[in-house]
């Protein structure tokens, strides 16, 4: 069986009805385009969350002051007794054996000055184990050590963005960095970590000891001198995650004399939870994606089937003639199938172009993370081929089942 002549015949037939053919493929165009846009959005969101999980580390827990919802306004309502504190950290270290490292953290934003250069950046007061928990290597100098955790130690570690903005080629290690006008000595430089999945620059940071942050930068809650904003915990293995989260919650509740039903004034975020969120988001996305594109592809397929049935009727005499000069049923079947698939693939290619363009437009305007992958394009074209075969079958079989003399006599 040679496909060449059938393909040529199909193209000729489509050319003869160019406008009709194009209108017919509209459904497939929309279907494939929406498929591509949706898959690209889905893949983009997925990769953003993947990046976020990678940034946090897979065996890390984050405990946040305030209830589950992390709206900034609610934190002020949390009373001093309920704030997370250094005492909580000591209790957790003693009572939860799967914890291998733990660190409190307080954040502030402060003006940074080195020589004549200045910059406003994020300053984090952290414990000695913080970098280990975040799995964040040092590029130069040293990290924070237990000895730095005294009120007098005014040392700082700087992120790559701060290095770039302030030091302009000078070696930051040993330099004096003024943070909110307090001189700190830079002892180390962090390696680049890049953006979080949601676009925050993680390298725009200065790490200082927790004690120094409280004493020198005023970064503390008014009512509790040892309060922290959040606690970072590293576990021995990621498999302990859920168990450890329960243990931590139990310890923190017990310290606050809360029953199991009281709302906790803190929330535990772990990467398992993020992964679960991701799975849910993905499922929703997949459903929307599936529904939209399957519906348009089915509608498009039915349109194409319809137009091919019309075409078979219009060309009944041609079919009879082809049979009279030697076409087998199979030849007619394949001719019409190829014609339908060609129509769909043309629609599919236009759909791919529209989808790719649409994805970039959305990426540009909505500033959503979009990930356009080659296999998405392949998927779009495959979908159009499948639509062609499925919806071409009925018209093609109808054409092939014609009897030559009846077809020739058809008016």
């Amino acid at each position: 069986m040679k496909v060449g002549p059938h393909f040529r015949t199909a193209l000729e037939a489509l050319q003869l009805n160019l406008v009709r053919s194009m209108l017919t493929t509209l459904g497939v165009i929309i279907g494939v385009a929406s498929l591509i846009v949706m898959v690209s959005i889905g893949a983009g969101a997925q990769s953003a969350i993947d990046k976020q999980i990678a940034a946090l580390g897979s065996n890390m827990l984050q405990i946040q002051s305030g209830p589950g919802n992390m709206g900034g306004g609610r934190r002020d309502q949390v009373g001093s007794v309920q704030m997370l504190s250094d005492r909580d950290i000591r209790a957790l270290r003693d009572q939860v054996p799967s914890i291998v490292a733990i660190s409190g953290q307080i954040n502030t934003t402060a003006p940074l000055v080195y020589g004549n250069a200045n910059w406003t950046g994020r300053v984090e007061g952290v414990g000695a184990e913080y970098l280990e928990i975040r799995d964040w290597p040092i590029a130069a100098g040293r990290g924070l050590e237990p000895g730095d955790m005294t009120v007098g130690a005014k040392v700082a570690i700087v992120g790559q963005t701060v290095v770039r903005e302030l030091f302009e080629g000078a070696d930051p290690v040993g330099a004096e960095l003024r943070i909110r006008n307090v001189p700190f000595t830079v002892v180390g430089v962090l390696e680049a970590k890049g953006q979080t999945g949601f676009g925050r620059d993680q390298d725009d940071v200065v790490l200082v000891p927790l004690a120094a942050a409280r004493a020198r930068l005023g970064a503390r809650a008014r009512s509790a001198p040892d309060a922290v904003g959040q606690i970072y915990v590293e576990l021995g293995s990621s498999r302990d995650m859920l168990r450890a989260a329960e243990d931590i919650e139990a310890v923190l509740r017990a310290r606050r004399q809360l029953s199991a039903t009281d709302e906790a004034p803190f929330s535990i975020r772990n990467t398992a939870e993020l992964i679960r969120t991701r799975t849910e988001a993905q499922a929703t996305m997949a459903f929307l994606l599936g529904a939209t594109s399957i519906i348009s592809l089915i509608v498009g397929g039915i349109g194409i089937m319809n137009i091919m049935l019309v075409s078979v009727t219009e060309r009944t005499r041609e079919i009879g003639l082809r049979m009279a000069v030697g076409a087998r049923k199979r030849d007619i079947l394949i001719q019409f199938l190829i014609e339908t698939v060609t129509l769909c693939v043309i629609g599919g290619l236009i759909g791919v172009a529209v989808g790719v363009g649409g994805s970039y437009l959305i990426a540009g305007f909505a500033e959503w993370p979009i990930l356009l992958r080659a296999d998405t394009v392949v998927l779009g074209i495959t979908a159009s081929v499948v639509v062609g075969v499925v919806f071409g079958l009925l018209p093609s079989r109808r054409a092939a089942s014609l009897n030559p003399i009846d077809a020739l006599r058809h008016e």
Binding site: R322, V325, G326, N403
Partner: protein, 230 residues
């Protein structure tokens, strides 16, 4: 010539159901046609000539009886074998030409070769040669609408013979043509017959029939006279 006839009809009847009753378009026809014959099929309108021709051309199947072409009983052949027979052994010329209107003369003549397993280049060479043979060497790339009736029928004849069939069937091939053009077409059929192809053609016109060496006359679906054969 071999002992076997090229076309053999044995008690062939074709019934059409018309509402409640049945009409016999062809009744109990038994005849043979040998290789190389030139046969005119005649008879009044509605006498069953076209029905007979379609049966011989393997486009239709008899209700009763058997037809053999080149020694092969059609009722024993499957769809693919019948398609191959129509492709290689039989050429059919229709009264209304039946050309693909938006395809060039050359494309129309190449049509049977799409189903013959030839490469496009081989098919084109053969189709061109055949168009030259029917006297249409000039206007091969023109579509049917740019050709006269006689030229269109030449294209149809070229299409019928492009695969060098043994039998050429023509159903009133000059019915839509003026008399001068008819004469040219009949000359072409005679030349083809001289070249060895068996020609069976339906005609109303006695002078057209006079070209043939044998005349078979139909009336009410039966053969009422046959000037030759078995």
């Amino acid at each position: 010539m071999s002992g076997q006839p090229l076309v053999a009809c044995e008690g062939v009847t074709k019934l059409y159901r018309m509402g409640a009753h049945e009409v016999a378009a062809v009744r109990d026809v038994t005849l043979t046609i040998g290789a190389g014959e030139y046969v005119a099929v005649m008879g009044p309108s509605g006498s069953g000539k076209s029905t007979f021709m379609n049966l011989v051309g393997a486009l239709d199947v008899p209700t009763v009886g058997t037809i053999s072409i080149a020694g092969r009983a059609l009722n024993e052949l499957d769809g693919d074998a019948l398609a191959s027979l129509r492709n290689r052994t039989i050429g059919f010329v229709f009264q209304q030409f039946n050309l693909l209107s938006r395809t060039s003369a050359l494309g129309n003549v190449m049509l049977p070769l799409d189903y013959s397993g030839l490469t496009r280049a081989e098919a084109e060479v053969r189709a061109r040669a055949t168009l030259v043979r029917v006297g249409l060497g000039e206007r091969m790339s023109h579509g049917p609408s740019e050709l006269s009736g006689g030229q269109q029928q030449r294209v149809a004849i070229a299409r019928a013979i492009v695969n060098e069939p043994q039998i050429l069937l023509a159903d009133e091939p000059t019915g839509a043509l003026d008399s001068a053009t008819s004469e040219e077409i009949m000359t072409l059929f005679r030349e083809l017959n001289r070249g060895g192809i068996t020609v069976i053609l339906i005609t109303h016109e006695p002078d057209v029939a006079a070209h043939a060496r044998r005349q078979i006359r139909f009336k009410d679906g039966r053969v009422v006279s046959d000037t030759g054969g078995a």
